[in-house]
């Protein structure tokens, strides 16, 4: 099975290890499981893994420092399992180089979707530097913080976006001045929340316009293209990791 991705699960709870392994194997992955950081690095010496699912709260070395070490050591993408929904843990994990996170208890299908999204993203570009997404995007004074999933207007006021709106804006910011069809947008934004495709892209765009356009009826940022798509017309500057949110 040459192309079946090999996933390594690192979690100290036996029930999670066995149940998650069974679930992922049932969805077409090869799975190995370890119980702590030491065993994890040992396993990595013996085999090559395509993705690591790492539990932050394990005995022994702290999950976040393991994450840092993994990032430094190589190019294997990491998805964090966090037990506490503390925002600081999440942010710190992503700033340390994890590719995504999910809070326990999670919907297994959602974890599956994120694993697939990460693998898709990192499949073609194995180098960590290229793989890393920008920590933020700026356009016309607006600031989109990717890690914290926040948007600030030019006055610095936080403007709350729904998950769908955020993912859509993220996609736009990643492809400025490109005309994107509805299908393309659907494909690019799907993967985080299952309900994004429950609302059409048109509805999401009109909601987003209400949030960021000075006049939603006469949009400046998100312009409709007659042939059936949208284009993000602002000049976008990508920010590096570690920039303040």
């Amino acid at each position: 099975m040459p192309n079946t991705p090999h996933i390594l699960i690192a979690d100290d709870d036996r029930q999670i290890r066995t149940s998650l392994a069974r679930f992922l194997e049932g969805n077409g992955f090869r799975v190995s499981a370890v119980a702590d950081g030491v065993a994890m690095f040992q396993a990595m010496e013996n085999s090559r893994f395509d993705l690591i699912v790492l539990d932050i709260m394990m005995p022994g070395e702290n999950g976040l420092s393991l994450c840092r070490r993994l990032r430094a050591a190589g190019k294997v993408p990491v998805v964090l399992l966090t037990a506490l929904s503390t925002h600081t843990d999440r942010i710190v994990g992503l700033e340390l180089g994890a590719d995504d996170y999910i809070c326990k208890p999670f919907d297994p299908r959602e974890l599956l979707a994120r694993i697939r999204a990460v693998l898709r993203r990192t499949g073609d570009t194995p180098a960590p530097e290229e793989r890393a997404r920008p920590a933020s995007y700026e356009f016309e004074g607006w600031r989109l913080d990717v890690l914290r999933r926040t948007l600030r207007n030019p006055e610095g006021t936080l403007v709350e976006l729904t998950a769908g709106e955020f993912d859509l804006l993220l996609t736009f910011a990643g492809h400025p001045q490109h005309v994107l069809t509805r299908d393309q947008l659907l494909d690019m934004t799907r993967g985080r929340e299952a309900n994004v495709f429950d609302r059409s892209i048109d509805v999401q765009v009109s909601r987003l316009r209400r949030k960021i356009e000075a006049d939603p009826q006469a949009p400046v940022f998100i312009k409709t293209v007659r042939s059936g798509g949208y284009v993000f017309c602002a000049g976008v500057v990508a920010g590096s990791q570690g920039a303040p949110g």
């Binding site: 999670i16 149940s19 998650l20 208890p105 919907d107 709350e160």
Partner: protein
Amino acid sequence: MRIAAMMLVAVLAVESLNAAALVFIPPRLMRVYGGHWLVETMEKAALAIFQADAKRREALATGLSAENHLQIHWLRVQQHPDETAPAFKRPFPERVRQAIESDLKGTVSRVTFRSLIGPRGNQFHVDLLFQPPDLPSRLAKGPLKPEDEDIAIPAPFEFGIQGADGSWVIVEPEDMLSYRARVLPWFITLLGAAVAVSLVSTFAARQWLRPLDRLAGAAREFGRTRRAVPVNTAGLSEFKVIEQAMNEMQDRIKRFLDERTHMLAAMSHDLRTGLTGLRLDAEDVCDGEAKERLVAGMEEMERMISATLDFAGDELKSEPAQAIDLAALLISLCDTLADRNYPVSYSGPDHLSAQCQPIAIKRAFANLIDNAIKYGGWACVSLSHSGGKAAIFITDGGPGIPAEKAELAFQAFRRLENSRSRETGGVGLGLTIARDIIRSNAGEIALGQPPQEKGLEVKVTLPLPVANGS
């Protein structure tokens, strides 16, 4: 110790004032009148007054007083009881009395003498004690005749000369000190004492209350932030024991809270790990309906765990406030729910800037809107602002909450429909957490009835920053 010292100081201050008053205020002088002179002057005055017209008598008496260094009054009616001291007790004045009585026989019906001291209206008798006791018997007796040797009549005295018409001429020594001069020393002393004592006690009280104020302030601060506030009771060595007790108490409370937070975090981790495993195992269940029920049950448990931990934890409280777009927040909450096919509507501006804790406020409104849907089936959210405040109304068409149960509804873990049924879900913390958060953000929340009378209207007000550029 300090209290004793302060009291000593106050008492000493008052006593010094008294002493100063004594030293600096001139002593009173005592007048001594000559017997012959008194007889002549009083006879002349009495005759003049009794011969004058009744209307003029008082004025005349006053005039004569000044001339003669006496106080002469004319009284139509005897105003005080007629008690004449026995003759042998007042040897000298008695001779003057007898002299006037015999000289003016015919014009004057009688002459009385009293020895009184004290201001008019407040007088009392003085008695004499002789040494040797038989002194009166050795002195000359009988009316004072012009050829007799003069005798001395010291103040105080009061002669009363009754005229034929029954009215009286009263003669007393001149009062050396005016009323003001008599009262003034007493007044000064009293005032001075009052001032001295107030100054000393105010100063002392302030000195002592300042550390107590600091203590109270520290206690309040600790209660609010739950972070230990070291107490500085400098200048209050007697209260060192309070300082120590206060600091110890803070430490104990903090340790207790830390233990509790740690316990909750541990519980959270364990429960969530357990739920994760269960959730994964549920994937193995083939029966679609059974699986859905299992998953729904687990999600409900997760929500309850979250709510309880939020309530008990500190995270929501310690989040710093930031500028947030209140309208965008409410719109996002409504849209997210609408996407899950819940009937939620929003009306209001697209943008409104406020200063509050972003994640906490989102949580508060999410709770309120969730409650509306849970108990009322639908929710209408509206936002408006006026007078520097934002007003958010969340209305539903459910059973509502009667006014008398409003406060109960806010209590932690209290669910008004008492069954704690899992049908309606929740642990009874939604309103509690929401109110906590809204109040920490300087806002207020109230439950009431919507205009259409059926259902619940939740009104939230939040302050808006002064220069609000939406």
